[in-house]
Symmetry: C3
Subunit: 343 residues, 3 copies
């Protein structure tokens, strides 16, 4: 996603001293759709945010410190614009603001050291190798479970210290630890390494919450994914396994096969998702198709449809964009037709 | 109100790709007053926000897509700056951010299609044809009731799809539907049409909540207003009727006659408001006078005084800017002296 | 602190009328540290915000009204970036946004009149004459008590009207009143006067909450401080006394002696703090040392260590940056190593 769209020019004459390299970028995304959903026999129509991409508003900047060293900050808030709400949370309760990312960084030839609230390394493959990212009816995230572990680090973690490799011939990677500070669901260690060059992108990641659930139980998440582009087509595949040691142990394995095909300003998308686990409550499959038409680099119209089938006991939901309840074993179908605008 | 004051220049060289037409406008308003109020025999002095105009901070932008088509977004937050608080709500509970307006739009020769949280069509006449807008001791809104209907759409609605007519010879209009998504107080359909040319502006609006109150009861709001400018004077009048079918039916009729008179940088304002309803709890009248002195286009000093008389059982309040309780039948008087600054 | 870094250029061509002098400054600070703390026998490691300076994001602007008159606004939000949270509160509960400062001002030869939520006059000496400001393990604020008075005006107050003296030969001063509006802990009157010229800066301040605690009890805070710079060294000292009349009366006296020493881009800091009160629960002493290395005017690395010794019954905490409990009489030690970046 190209998120950087504005740079405010520094002006030294006004009320203070500004260094020449001062720059702050304001960026954001508003995505709203008309949505129709059917879970079991219940249907709902409504307006939903976040069905192609996550609504956000942010400020970020980079300062050149000389000698190859840079400092930077990144403040990114979620938004539920359909109701004018603050989007998302930080898993800890209380009011949040820049809950998508709140970090300060030092960058140089050594890579990047980053402190604050940030995405976990074990999250990235879920979105990068899914034609629907982590948004809307088509996303594989619809069937992902943290297995009752209490881990709040599936996507992001609070109190993190992270390290990112510098650019080096297509290899990329990161390590992260997150302090629990009394909240075991946030205590986390993980890493990710990948390779991207030409048409190929592959990565593997691992994360663990050593004490999630407030007990000495171990929750782990490992996943691997890849994509290959040939001409206008991209195929993607990923596999992941989450495991929780508590009470005899429970695990879930998910895999996805999907792809995108571009024709002019249009992009077609499709994905098949399968989840298997130690109980039928973790068994489901989802089929999704999507169409996106780019009015410009910043603005797109889209339609996404998904059909999710739960086994007995499972209650995964393709219609998370609407507040429509789902019962165990229900089939879930959802269609979102909307517009996504970035700035 | 001229709210657009800043445009940030797009710069393509920084951290991403910016299209040439990128522009984001930061805008806002801070209005603080020293306020004195007397409800019945209780008095309070304090500092209040929003007494001439609503405090706000917003970001908005328009992208030219070519061929007469445009995309735009509008994110506008309320603020209670007297206490550093988030202003207003969305009627649904939970944290709000851009609760005044959170929309994305497509615009063209066909008009505008707008999705998100927005003002309802049936709101606009209340503020456009009131010399005191919808703010402070003088506003007619002080005596408006939604009749216990549970409707949260008097001013704005969540989950809306709206359509606005294009410019066409002074005629303007809009239609809106809002999805309830399980919250019947938000389910809404409405429209407004008007004509503005030279000294004349008139409009009529209608809105309904078909299931407000959680029952199959129908809440409706229709209103009409007009203004006429001759030289430095503007006279305004409006009439409205809200009706709720539950429990035998209840309705409220309100009308207002007011005007403004400009002398150089000064503007004098006056309004008389009358409310009649099916019970004496809906009976009141309000007289208000105001003075505004424009230090510039962006900054004004002002004073507004209102005297509101409730019939037995009515507890309308002219002093909503302060947390001063009011008992049924109390007289309510309020004076706000403040400064309003826009940016 | 140089907080002004960006000025957005006004553009009159876009959607409204902008006066030539329109300018809004976006400013902020992100400070994150790795922190280690030991209170009694309990230890915690984590990531903390605000340990060198307070995280913030703000918008402010000044409009030249001509004739020496200016209007201005200042909106400044706190942030807890380690968890993506909204920082701080306003003492009243509910959601806050620009809780650090939310004001509108008129300025001229007469000085400045300011309305809104703002710092109290009796706060400033605490931070100006402390080598560690009011942040982190080293701050004197760690041992300051409001004596159970219910006063929420130690640092800031809601609903304030303030007056600031104009520039006049090194003398500076301010007066402020804050309306309680039913919240007696916020009702406040105070003032501060000082003199700064060349190497010298001295100031004295007084504030009172006449009805704090919901009773007719009087809470007062008076404090005096000074600093003197000779070459690369600055020495600082301050003394303060807070008194609460309820239940026979209770008071606390605190004093601090500290200094900073600059060598190139490095600054060394040290401070000794002592608190004495009417009970041993108010008795403590704190020793702190710090090191700061400026990578630029905007970015610094730092380390601060403090050792706080409580008398029996006292539970002052040098490790407030982490959620680590402290028991009465516990020793509190904390180390923060971090980076502070302003924009």
């Amino acid at each position: 996603m190209k998120k950087s769209l504005l740079t405010l020019a520094a002006l030294t004459a006004f009320a203070g001293v500004a260094s020449a390299q001062s720059s702050v970028t304001l960026f954001g995304l508003v995505d709203q759709s008309v949505m129709w959903a059917k879970n079991g026999n219940n249907t709902m129509k409504g307006v939903a945010s976040n069905q192609l991409a996550s609504n956000r508003l942010g400020f970020r900047g980079v300062e050149d410190l000389g000698g190859g060293l840079k400092a930077g900050f990144w403040l990114e808030a979620g938004m539920d614009n359909d109701v004018g709400g603050v989007g998302g949370s930080n898993g800890l309760g209380g009011s949040v603001m820049f809950n998508r990312r709140s970090t300060v960084s030092l960058m140089g030839g050594f890579g990047e050291i980053r402190l604050g609230r940030d995405y976990t390394p074990s999250f990235w493959n879920y979105t990068v190798f899914d034609p629907f990212g982590t948004n809307g009816p088509g996303s594989m995230l619809n069937v992902i479970s943290t297995l009752g572990s209490g881990a709040i680090t599936l996507v992001r973690a609070n109190n993190t210290v992270g390290y990112f490799l510098p650019e080096m011939g297509g290899v990329y990677g990161q390590l992260q630890i997150a302090a629990g500070e009394g909240n075991t669901g946030n205590k986390y260690q993980g890493g990710r390494v990948g390779y991207a060059a030409g048409p190929v992108n592959v990565a593997v990641a691992y994360g663990r919450n050593p004490d999630s659930g407030g007990l000495a139980a171990n929750y782990t998440d490992w996943n691997v994914g890849g994509s290959y582009a040939f001409g206008p087509a991209v195929i993607m595949a990923q596999y992941s396994k989450r495991k929780f040691d508590l009470a005899g142990g429970v695990d879930q394995k998910t895999w996805e096969l999907g792809g995108t095909y571009a024709i002019g300003a249009s992009t077609l998308k499709a994905a098949y998702v399968r989840s298997n686990g130690t109980t039928s409550a973790l068994e489901a499959r989802q089929i999704a198709v999507g169409y996106q038409y780019d009015l410009s680099k910043r603005t797109a119209l889209y339609a996404t449809y998904a059909d999710l089938k739960n086994e007995t006991g499972a209650k995964f939901n393709a219609a998370g964009g609407l507040p429509l309840a789902i019962a165990a074993g229900d089939k879930s179908r959802a269609l979102a037709v909307g517009v996504r605008h970035t700035f």
